[in-house]
Structure formats: C-alpha cells, structure tokens
C-alpha cells in the first residue's frame, strides 16, 4: 500500500476519534432538547464549570476564596489537602445533579409553556451566570487536570503498523489520550443509548420527549424527568470537560468547544440520539480529511470552518438533519 493512502487512513482514524467526542457533547444537547424543547446554550459552560469544579476539589481549593477573603480579611486559598480523583469525580457529579435540580426549580419550572426563544434566552443567561459562578468559586486561572491519564503518541501502534507501507511510511501516529477519550466517550454513548432504550426511566424520558400531556396521563412526573436529563447532561458535560481539559487545560475556551456540537446537531437532527452519533463521526472525519486533502491547497486552517459550511449545505437540502423528525405541516 502506498504511504499516501495509509496516511489517509490515519487521518480518518483520528477523525473518527475526534468525532466520538463531538458526538458526546452533541448528546448532551439532544437529551435536553428532546425532553423539554430547550436548546441549552449553557452546555459548553457546564463542561467548563464541571471541569473547574473537579480540579478545584482535587487540589483542595477553598471555593469562593476571593470573596471570603475580601469580606472577612482572611487569607484562605487552599484547605491543604488533596482529594483522590475518584472521590473528586463523585463529589463533582453530586454538584452537577444539584445544579440540575436548581436549574429546574428556579428557572425552567417558571417558564413551562413559554416560547422556545424565551427558553433559549434563559439558557444564555444561565451560561453567563454559571461562567461567573465558576470564576467566583474557583478563580479564572488556566488549570491543568492531574488525573494521570496517558498522553503522547502510542509507540506501540506506530511500530506495529510501520511495516504496512514502504520506506516513506513510519506507522500510524495516534495519541494515547485520544484513544482513551474515544473509548470513554464510546462507552458513555453506548450506555446512554442503552439506558434510554431499555430502562423504565429511559422509557419515561422518551415518553416525555414525545408528548408531555400523554406522559402526565400515564403518571410520569415531568419535573423528575427534566431534572434527570439535566443531571445526565451535567454528567456528559463533566466527561467532555475533563477529556478536553486534560488536552488543552481547563480554561474559558472550553465552553466554546461545545459549539462544535452545533454543526453536528444540524447534520444529525436535534432530536435524534443516533443522529448525534453519526453526525459527530461525519463531522470528525470530514474536517480531518478535508484538512488533509484540500487544506494544503487553500492555505490550511480549514478545520475552523469546515463543519459549519457542511452544516449550512445540509440545512439547505435537509433542514431536519439526517435523522431528525420530518417536518410535515397538515394543511
């Protein structure tokens, strides 16, 4: 096999791995949108907040330390202990569930039956609020997550595949962290799909997504389901935040990465879980391949815009996305 072809394959593999992460973030959006019709602009900030919280807890940082110091004139910064990763993750999950409850209780419960645009505006407000709370709680420095995850190229894969091509080919270069992230995301995505398909709560979630009135009539509490989906979205945000945070540090730009999920959703449809997965993979592979094949001709950096252009083209021909519900208006 020629080296060019093999490099092409390497690009596709890397694209698939990036795509699984996009799919994961997109799932967070789809779950909430399906169950409540809310497009959650705050999803990205939730990822940032979850990652910040995890780091803060692990390092034993005092939450709201600046505020406390300013009011009481103290000089607190750290408790002086470190928390093991698993325990910190558990505490962060609890905090995200509490956040889900608070969002439902104090915001969306009062907005039931409002126009989608109003719900959307509420999530924008939520995004800025949460960003501010994150800053106030944990400070605004760029943080690194010390989870001890493997990083760097996998020599093993490189050596094992080096013999496939000729002298020009040195084997597939795959980042260990990317491989791990892909595995984690794939497991989580599979678990979410299984949960929504085969469990009682999953069935209730799908029921609420389909018809609120009917769901009420068979005894499903909408409040409970909404808190549940926000909790799951919070958990997804935590995982996405950690995986990306390990890669590029926990910083504000993390919240923008979630916007990459937008083209994924346009492609896959806002209401489809398989759509989010397939859409994520298409975007991941598409942008990497495009960069590899066409990038050099146009001066590179196509990854920044390719996904959005692809989504726009899709919008023209199939506005409901690949798997979205078809919009048929009865006349």
């Amino acid at each position: 096999m020629s080296a060019d072809f093999l490099y092409g394959i390497e690009v596709v593999i890397n694209g698939l791995m990036a795509g699984v992460l996009y799919a994961l973030v997109a799932l967070g959006f789809v779950l909430i949108f399906k169950a409540s019709g809310i497009f959650n602009y705050a999803q990205g900030v939730m990822a940032l907040f979850a990652a910040l919280t995890l780091v803060g807890i692990m390092e034993g940082q005092v939450p709201f330390s600046h505020l406390i110091n300013a009011i009481f004139g103290t000089d607190l910064h750290y408790f002086g202990w470190t928390v093991p990763a698993l325990l910190a993750i558990a505490v962060t999950v609890v905090i995200m569930i509490f956040f889900a409850w608070a969002v439902q209780k104090f915001v969306f419960r009062h907005l039931v039956g409002q126009e989608p645009i109003i719900l959307f505006m509420a999530t924008i407000g939520l995004a800025f609020f949460l960003e501010g709370v994150g800053d106030l709680m944990w400070g605004s420095d760029i943080r690194t997550i010390g989870l001890g995850l493997p990083q760097g190229g996998s020599l093993w894969i490189e050596e094992a595949t080096a013999s496939l091509g000729g002298d020009d080919f040195y084997g597939f270069f795959l980042d260990k962290l990317d491989i791990l992230a892909t595995a984690v995301a794939a497991v989580l995505v599979a678990a979410l799909v299984a949960f929504s398909q085969y469990t009682k709560q999953g069935r209730a979630m799908r029921a609420v997504a389909d018809d609120h009135q009917a769901a009420l009539s068979v005894g499903i509490s909408l409040d409970f389901i909404w808190i549940l989906v926000w909790s799951i979205a919070g958990f997804v945000a935590l995982v996405a935040g950690v995986l990306w945070g390990v890669k590029s540090g926990v910083q504000f730009s993390l919240s923008l990465i979630a916007l990459k999920a937008l083209p994924v959703l346009m492609l896959g449809g806002f209401t489809s879980i398989p759509g989010a997965i397939v859409g994520g993979l298409i975007i991941g592979v598409g942008e990497k391949l495009f960069e590899y094949l066409v990038g050099p001709l146009v001066g590179g950096a196509t990854e920044n815009w390719f996904a959005y252009v692809l989504a726009l083209i899709f919008l023209v021909f199939r506005p409901q996305g690949l798997f979205g519900e078809k919009i048929i208006e009865r006349v």
Binding site: A207, L216, V218
Partner: protein, 272 residues
Amino acid sequence: MKDTVDSYVTADGRTIGGVMMEMRNITLRFGGVKAISDISFDIREGEIRAIIGPNGAGKSSMLNVISGFYHPQEGEVWFRGAKRPTMKPYQVAQQGIARTFQNIALFEGMTVLDNVMTGRLNKMKVGMFGQAIWKGAAEREEVENREAVERVIDFLEIQAIRKTPVGRLPYGLKKRVELARALAAEPKLLLLDEPMAGMNVEEKEDMSRFILDVNDEFGTTIALIEHDMGVVMDLSDRVVVMDYGRKIGDGTPDEVRNNQDVIDAYLGVSHD
C-alpha cells in the same frame, strides 16, 4: 362519607358497587368564562358512566378536572371515601385513574409495544440504580410487566401491529392503542374522552365491544364522554347531561331520554 347505597345487580348480571368517585359542587372558570358551574355527580364501582352534552357543554373540562389537568376554583373531588387534595395529573394517574384523550395523545415515535409499556411505569418499583444495573430485580420486573402488556395487547387484538411505530397507524387503531396504554395501568377508574369520535360504524362497533368487555372482564369502572347518542344509550348504566356548563340531567339512559330539559338542549326550543 356520604350515603353509599348498597350495591345492586344490573339486568345483564354485572354488580355495581358503592360510590367510587364523587364530584361535589364543582365550579371551573377560565378567566371570566364559567366552563363548569356547580356540578355534582358520582361514579359507582364497576359502572359505565357517560357524560354527554352539546359542543362546548364542558364535558371535556369535567374529565380534565377528574384527571387533574384542570383544578376547579370551587368544589371538592372525593375518591374512594377521601377528599382528594389538589393533585398534579401524574399523581392522579398514580392513584389508579387512567385516561385517553379526545385528540389522541400517544408517543408517536415509539412502537405500539413501547407505548403500552409506558402504561406500566407506575407498576415498576425498581429504582434508577437497579435499572442501570439491569440484571436481577429490574429484569424480572420488566419480564412480568411485559407479560401483563402482552395480555392487554391480545385482549384488544392489536398483536399484528405490536412493533409498528404509532405514527404510522391509521386513526382507528391509534384510538385502540391509546385504550391499551390506559388499560395496561390496570386502572381503578378509566376515563375515555370521546373514544369513538371520527370513527366509522364498524370501528365504533369494535370500540363499543372493547369498552363493554373491559368493564365486564376486569370490572373496571369507566367514565366516558361521547357525542353519539345511540352508542351512549347502549353502553352506559347512568348518564350525566351537561349544557353550557350546567348539569341538566342525571340518571339511567331511559330517564335521561325522556327528560324535557335534555330534549330541549339537543333539539332546541322555539322562543316565540
């Protein structure tokens, strides 16, 4: 509780028990519009109770009050000997009151089987973590409930469409699936909002048969709203007649048929 007259046996051999549900002086307003004014009636164990009346009489509002979708400004709802506090619809459902809707409210994207399974959600007790682990209790429970659902599906003769997404079904079958979902909950009281609206004669006959069979075999108490007078008179044990939010008649089909107010409401009166 108020007088519960002893049970009696109907002409066709069914036993009608004491009062199960009682509406006392219900008044429901939407802004300045009175949808229901000061209506009282009761529903007995095991009977088929119809609510009839011209369009806009407040029948559906009354059903929505019973099922907790609307909350009356005045009046009390008594269920099984106790005054019911203000409840959300899902809490009412958990009490054992199932319903269908005038404009069919099914989960269109899900299969018939999944739709009917949602009717059993309240019968499933295993918690979320048990569900997530799935093996053991959760699996056993799923199998049990699945069996119950299959019985309902058999009963209503919808085996052939079990795996079909509901969105693809014709209207008459959707109505039947909705009934199946309500039945799957094994309700004490079944509320049917115009179960035969928009059906042809054959479908109406099928639906009538199912309603009678449900009442007969499971002893389910049924309250239904219907426009088709012929059907109502054949099916029901007792009838409440409403007009402009007021109750104008209450009794057996024969009594109601000969009530002058009812005749006026349906045929109109001359104002000369």
